[in-house]
């Protein structure tokens, strides 16, 4: 499978440095607590515009000899001096009162150990080199990740728009990626800078002061706090002040301010030397500050979150990578050479999901005796024995071709087959993107234009990798070819399904459409709501799922009996008093959202069932409209008792087999301006029933949005205003 260069580098770099990054993140998380601990100690002071001079005056009055005064990033004032007994001392003092606040504590063993591990892996210079190198790699990983994100979201403007929900790992990988890109880049870059600095690869930091040859010999006893610079400089500007070593005039004050260093004559206050810090010093200081979070509670917390997010990135990244490799491998179980195959299955996949469907289809085709060759779209070539071409393709980002299919359209022009191929195109996509299945549409169009290709099955679009929809397509294929294509359901992790016994309370007679309703009562405690799915095990071991309603605590479902349907036949034979085992499955996607005040329910056939329960539950607190599609007026009788008990605000029925021959989408089109206004006012539209009806409804809705509102339907889709359960 072809991967884009960015994805390939992103994965490779991350895998190569994963162990190191894990170590650095975990130690980083621990170290992020250091500024929090330090900042919580009661030694910090507020300076309130106090000058250095004022501070010195206060301190000199209380301490016999001062050696130096230091202000650190936590606004702590550290005083070093000699006490009356001639012993040296180091205290944190309050600059306003001069009082001792406490003595500096040694860095705790935990932080010291962790710092060493984080900085050099206990390998001194060698370790530091690797830490610097891996920090650099982390920057590259972040940048490639960002490029992937741009590609996926479809440009800068949409960077922060909603992300379609896929599997959990990649969803949160992307969400966190968006928020932490900048902080991670900062941590990585400052890490690199600090390592470079340690390796003396940058210009030296120390300033080279030089004393003038002549020094004024005045010894007039001017008090230090009277000196001009001290009188005019606020204490917060100070980093360190060292007192002259002796009282001789050749000894001077050393003053380090935020931006420069000065040597001051201790009596005249004249600057004997004054040098500004070069850019490298300031960069080093900022790097230190940004990398460690010293002095800033808020930034320390950000750093803590960066550490935690990095651990999650590693975890979810490895999961995504694992899933992708597994999916890609699945397809290559049976290899039929291109030259010998009668059926060609070409796959366009970005994340590997489509390959899983291709593998299922290949197996089903092989079972029918078809020599099926599976390949990527890009490997399109001459197929001397082929009769049929089936294309399964995803669409990447905003309607772009998948990476492994980017040459396909060109190849179609360049390679011409000797015989005519019957083709079918299946598009996989998400309705949450505006260009649903765009790549599949392009391919379908191209094939229709080219000579030598005959459409076998019309273009079929599948939302969110819905297996039921794929089965519907397979049924269409079977009808056309006269051979029954049997798809084995996607192998998901075998979860033990829990079955709950239900008793049949009521069963309606089959109506003209071979449809009936069942009312079932749980025999054990069961939690379910309207819109959930009821799984019923058929004789062949497959599970058939039905959308259900909850009416007065009972489970109601509507079933259409198919002639050869194992499950529907089983259900049609039930009688009141019989017991049925049901596996209940939550279906959040199709619950009536809590925020919805106005709801438009659209359904056809058995898809009306879940609405019966929603109406009962919310007839008093929500404004609910129902638009139902049925075959005949008689079909309505089945649902009538329920709808009369809890009538919707408005009820519109479309009968396809009566003389007006109406479908729900026709009525929807008539109500275009009402629908548009509703959508603008947060109306939620629920769609349940056949895929054909769903596609028709979505087309009308898209049209309404474009013409009435001038925005794509996906805008509302992203606001979770469109909810679907179709099959």
């Amino acid at each position: 499978m072809t991967l884009s260069v960015w994805r390939f580098s992103h994965q490779l770099l991350a895998l190569a440095s994963s162990l190191f990054l894990l170590l650095a993140s975990v130690t980083g998380i621990i170290l992020a607590f250091e500024p929090l601990v330090e900042g919580s100690k009661p030694y910090s002071a507020s300076f309130n515009e106090q000058t250095i001079g004022q501070t010195l005056e206060i301190l000199e009055a209380q301490y016999p000899e001062i050696l130096s005064l230091e202000v650190d990033r936590y606004n702590r004032v550290l005083l070093e001096g000699i006490d009356a007994e001639g012993a040296s001392f180091r205290y944190y003092v309050d600059p306003e009162s001069g009082k001792k606040l406490g003595e500096p504590e040694e860095k705790s063993a935990l932080f010291r150990f962790t710092t060493n591990l984080h900085r050099s892996l206990f390998l001194k210079s060698v370790g530091r080199f690797f830490v610097g190198l891996f920090s650099f790699l982390m920057c590259l990983i972040t940048i490639t990740g960002f490029l992937l994100l741009l590609q996926r979201q479809g440009g800068w403007k949409k960077l922060y728009s909603k992300i379609p929900k896929e599997d959990k790992s990649s969803y949160y990988h992307v969400i966190l990626g968006r928020w932490f890109i900048l902080p991670i880049l900062i941590v990585g870059a400052t890490g690199v800078y600090l390592s470079l600095e340690k390796f003396s690869l940058l210009p030296p930091l120390a300033l080279e002061h030089r004393l003038p040859e002549q020094i004024d010999e005045t010894m007039d006893g001017t008090a230090s706090y009277e000196l001009e610079l001290f009188k005019n400089t606020p204490l917060e500007e100070l980093r360190k002040l060292s007192y002259p070593f002796s009282e001789f005039p050749e000894d001077y004050f050393e003053v380090a301010l935020q931006d420069r260093e000065l040597w001051l004559h201790q009596y005249t206050g004249e600057a004997l030397s004054e040098l500004s810090y070069p850019f490298t010093t300031l960069a080093q200081r900022w790097s230190m500050l940004l990398h460690t979070g010293q002095g800033s509670l808020l930034w320390a917390i950000v750093l803590l979150l960066v550490g935690i997010s990095l651990v999650y990135f590693l975890y979810s990244g490895i999961r995504i990578w694992g899933v992708r490799t597994r999916k890609t491998k699945k397809s290559s179980v049976v290899v039929v050479p291109a030259e010998e195959a009668d059926t060609i299955l070409l796959v366009g996949s970005e994340t590997g999901n489509t390959f899983a469907f291709a593998a299922l289809l290949q197996k089903a085709l092989l079972d029918l005796g078809k020599q099926t060759h599976v390949a990527e779209l890009n490997s399109y070539q001459m197929y001397p024995k082929a009769e049929e071409l089936i294309i399964l393709t995803a669409t990447y980002g905003e309607g772009e071709h998948t990476t492994n299919g980017r040459h396909f359209l060109k190849l179609l022009d360049e390679v011409s087959q000797q015989q005519t191929l019957n083709y079918s195109v299946v598009g996989f996509g998400s309705l949450q993107y505006p260009d649903f299945c765009a790549f599949a549409i392009d391919i379908d169009k191209k094939l229709a234009e080219l000579p030598g290709f005959e459409e076998n099955n019309p273009l079929f679009k599948i939302n969110n990798q819905d297996f039921r929809a794929f089965e519907t397509w397979a049924q269409g294929w079977s009808a056309k070819s006269g051979q029954v294509l049997k798809l084995e359901p996607l192998k998901k992790k075998k979860k033990k399904r829990r079955y709950i016994p239900f008793e049949v309370i009521e069963k309606s007679a089959l109506n003209l459409d071979d449809t009936f309703t069942l009312k079932l009562r749980p025999q054990k405690k069961a939690k379910f709501t309207s819109g959930d799915l009821a799984g019923i095990l058929a004789e062949d071991g497959n599970i058939r799922q039905y959308s259900i309603a909850k009416v007065a605590g009972d489970l109601v479902l509507s079933v259409k009996k198919h002639e050869h349907g194992l499950c529907s036949t089983l259900l049609s034979q039930l009688a009141p008093g019989d017991s049925l085992m049901i596996n209940l499955q939550k279906n959040h996607e199709f619950h009536l959202p809590g925020f919805a005040q106005h709801v438009l329910l659209i359904g056809n056939g058995t898809g009306i069932a879940p609405y019966l329960g929603m109406l009962e539950q919310h007839h008093s607190d929500k404004e609910i409209h129902l638009l139902a599609g049925l075959r005949t007026k008689e079909s309505y009788e089945l649902y009538k008792p329920y709808l009369e008990a809890y009538p919707p605000q408005t009820l519109e029925l479309a009968f396809s087999q009566e003389k007006e021959g109406q479908y729900v989408q026709d009525i929807l089109q008539q109500k275009a301006s009402w629908v548009a206004k509703g959508l603008e006012n947060e109306m939620v539209i629920m769609i349940c029933g056949s895929l054909k009806m769903q596609n028709g409804v979505l087309e009308v809705l898209e049209n309404i949005c474009q013409t009435e509102l001038g925005v794509p339907l996906s805008d509302f889709e992203n606001m979770e205003q469109i909810r679907m359960d179709c099959y």
């Binding site: 016999p64 000899e65 050696l67 130096s68 000699i82 009356a84 007994e85 001639g86 012993a87 040296s88 040694e106 860095k107 063993a109 010291r112 150990f113 060493n116 206990f122 001194k124 210079s125 340690k198 003396s200 030296p204 930091l205 120390a206 300033l207 080279e208 002061h209 060292s242 007192y243 070593f245 002796s246 050393e254």
Partner: protein, 167 residues
């Protein structure tokens, strides 16, 4: 790491014991000296500086001052470390931060009064990460006269000046 822990607990218990001892035994009189160490303008990491008292034969007697508290690097000051590793006694002063090229540090050092003018030596030993180690960057006889003069080093130390602390 094990060594570090033992060193740490060792130091701690020594500190405890010696503080107990001190309260019973006042020991020899000490004289406080203010000591300024000015470094040359070298490039690189901060310098580790150890000030030790040596006897007539050049044997270590006591550690007076250590600059740099990261024990990971102590064995890069080998001559002193071979003494200190075995005979770990209480050090009056250990400061955390090392001082880099061109900078100076002023510290108070406690000299035992009975060792002055008695043939003992004062040694300033220096080491910088990934750079040369100077066992005797500066070494001179501990005499009243020597303590008054500015002494120049030959490694990372440009000079050292000492004066009695003002009490």
């Amino acid at each position: 790491m094990k060594r570090k822990i033992t060193l740490f607990t060792g130091l701690f218990s020594l500190l405890l014991i010696s503080s107990l001892l001190v309260s019973f035994n006042p020991g020899p009189t000490k004289v406080s000296y203010k000591c300024m160490i000015q470094l040359t303008n070298y490039n690189g990491h901060g310098a580790y500086v150890v000030v030790s008292l040596l006897d007539k034969d050049g044997k270590y007697v006591e550690t007076l001052y250590v600059q740099g508290d990261d024990e990971e690097w102590y064995h890069d000051i080998p001559e002193w470390w071979s003494f200190y590793e075995k005979d770990q006694s209480d050090i009056d002063a250990i400061t955390g931060a090392t001082v880099g090229g061109g900078q100076r540090t002023i510290q108070v050092i406690q000299l035992p009064a009975d060792k002055i003018n008695a043939g003992y030596q004062l040694r300033f030993e220096t080491a910088v990460e990934d750079q040369k180690y100077y066992a005797d960057d500066l070494q001179f006889e501990l005499t009243t006269e020597n303590l008054k003069t500015k002494k120049e080093g030959k490694g990372y130390i440009r000079y050292v000046r000492m004066i009695p602390a003002s009490s």
